[in-house]
Symmetry: C2
Subunit: 129 residues, 2 copies
Amino acid sequence: MAVLKYSRQREAIKNYLQGREDHPTADMVYAGIREDFPNISLGTVYRNLSLLTDLGEVLKITTDGADRFDARVTPHHHFACRQCGRVMDIMIPVENPVDSVNARWADGEIEECRMLFYGICSDCKKMKN
Amino acid sequence: MAVLKYSRQREAIKNYLQGREDHPTADMVYAGIREDFPNISLGTVYRNLSLLTDLGEVLKITTDGADRFDARVTPHHHFACRQCGRVMDIMIPVENPVDSVNARWADGEIEECRMLFYGICSDCKKMKN
DNA sequence: GTGGGTGCAAATACTTTGCAACCGA
DNA sequence: TCGGTTGCAAAGTATTTGCACCCAC
């Protein structure tokens, strides 16, 4: 890719993500941005999310169903609710096992560890009553 | 789903997965099974992989691109190569952080932790030379 | 003016599903 | 026979891409 050029759409997508903590899908971003840019297209949203991910300005979280995006790029992990599908940050520090795995198994092969925790979130547990 | 009935196709799929360590996609399973069951359909492969996953006899690994399946159901984690896309088991024991996360954050909400490590595998590193 | 970015629509990739025929218990 | 299972094809969901036009530099 050549020299990056400014685009209002890309800026809006970045801002949108930074104002959220719910790890929206591309579709949700599209719906949100449309309120300010009624003519934006879904393709543009996908293109920019993918670009921002490559630039490291956004994190793509692959789970069951549609990919989710996160503007919080500092290392952290996620919890996905099996019932309602929501994805949440896990804020507490979790020991990062990359070094110990590299040391014992792959010696530098591994760059990153993403932990995805599964379960039923407290909201969904309440519903069950 | 009601009482499970035997099917040669399902058996073949299970056997196929048990004989592999490369975490094939549904398509790869389909191609493999076809050598013994030339008439099996992709839909049947998907249906059975999904059923076996629900039964806990097979693990579904969601990564970028197509889902991958693993007949090794004892707790372990995976390494995905960013270059060639291969997914490999990580055989060494990695501390399971579920309990500590539950204790500090969600108190029983979390049932399972899947760690997905990313990097460039040794084969791909060799290619770079 | 040049080349990257956009909107639109068509195409692709992956997975699920409806249905009639089939087969295991 | 009964109801789960299959093959087939069509549909569904998620994402990517080709292209003409537009806009930042």
